[in-house]
Amino acid sequence: MSAIHPPFVADAGSALVPLPYRVQRFVCDTDDTFTLTLAPQSGGEALPFAPGQFNMLYAFPSGDVPISVSGPAARREVLIHTIRAVGPVTRALAQLRRGDTVLVRGPFGKPWPVAQAEGHDVVLIAGGIGLAPLRPVLYHILAKRKRFGRLCLLYGARTPGDVLYRRELEKWRGRLDVQVEVTVDRGDSDWHGEVGVVTQLLERAQLDPARTVAMVCGPEVMMHFSRLALTKRGVPESQIFVSMERNMKCGVGSCGHCQLGPFFICKDGPVFDYPRIAPVFSTKEL
């Protein structure tokens, strides 16, 4: 297969103007992670997006942060975001209640190469909160299952309590057309699943490496070791995609906040094919 490059998806016209959304649903996923379902305050459809794209979410008075869309792209009436509360803005978002207003700007960035992955085996490797930006890919592939080869979701979390979307994982695992493997670093006596790192799961993934497209999302150190494991398994580097994160402000490539080497992560990424990002991958912010 020749190198797959994600298509450029034009940002919506509202890229610089935040639109008000109402919190329709607030779900606590884990001790520090929650999912917001947002509906446009004006009624009608939410901003259309492609799997892997992100929005800037405002929490007053703290500021705004980039958050990937974690819901299905086909569900046009709402935007779903899963957020880990780590600092001032994400913690302010964690204080939202049903009916509250959030300002949303987006969607931004290059998506996962879902259309180009058609006809191939697909392996999704997620670590921690990294499952959220990959979930729309899974929804998409499951909805158009026949167009893809084998499908594997490999997910690693710190502890059983950190595992996201547990009920959905169980549902997906029950299907015959997707291999779902979940592992934690530290199990407890109630955990009957795998214990070990996510790269170990790759050794067991049923796929044809040469015709596999891999999409990897999680902290950079986890993506680094996943890339090494994929290469060892024989997946060509041009078929490995990662999603990068840097602090952001404008989201449209004009402020330079998210610059990494020659790239603006907001505009050139966040999804990159590995050969493109390799020269600056795992280096400190430049």
Binding site: C28, D32, T183, D185, D188
Partner: protein, 168 residues
Amino acid sequence: MNPPVHTLSPQLLSLQFFAGFGPAELQILARHSRQVSWPADVEVIREGQVATEFFLILDGRVRVETHLPGRGEVTLQTLLRGDVLGWSWLTANASFSFSARTLQPTNALVFEGTALLRECEQHPRLGYLLMRRFALVMSDRLRHTRLQLLDLYSPPRSSGPFQALKKR
């Protein structure tokens, strides 16, 4: 008790563990191995117990665990088809460093480590191949342990105390 296995079927030989062994070595391995079936929730080895055997998991699932005072049993790793359990037998008079318990009904090959060590004295090639195989098992295990220690999915450094969402 399960009957001894005198030949290793082609299906078993397809496991990575047997890669590189010639017919002579495979015969010795077969002579000192037998197949076992355990139901779920059986303690297969116990921490501190004298280690004379090792196991090759054929199907099912086994967890390697240790007891931590105040925290109970902590699972360190899970083993599936093709994984090796136990290498303490390599050093004479050693004991198992961890316990292991089946999570599901599990089939495994049990190898008599002590007898194999004696065979290795007579058959240096077998010894060489076995040591190489276990060096690989150990280096894999070490690599995975290092990655677990790296805390790959750790949340970014927190900028202050956070009231857990569950307490909302």
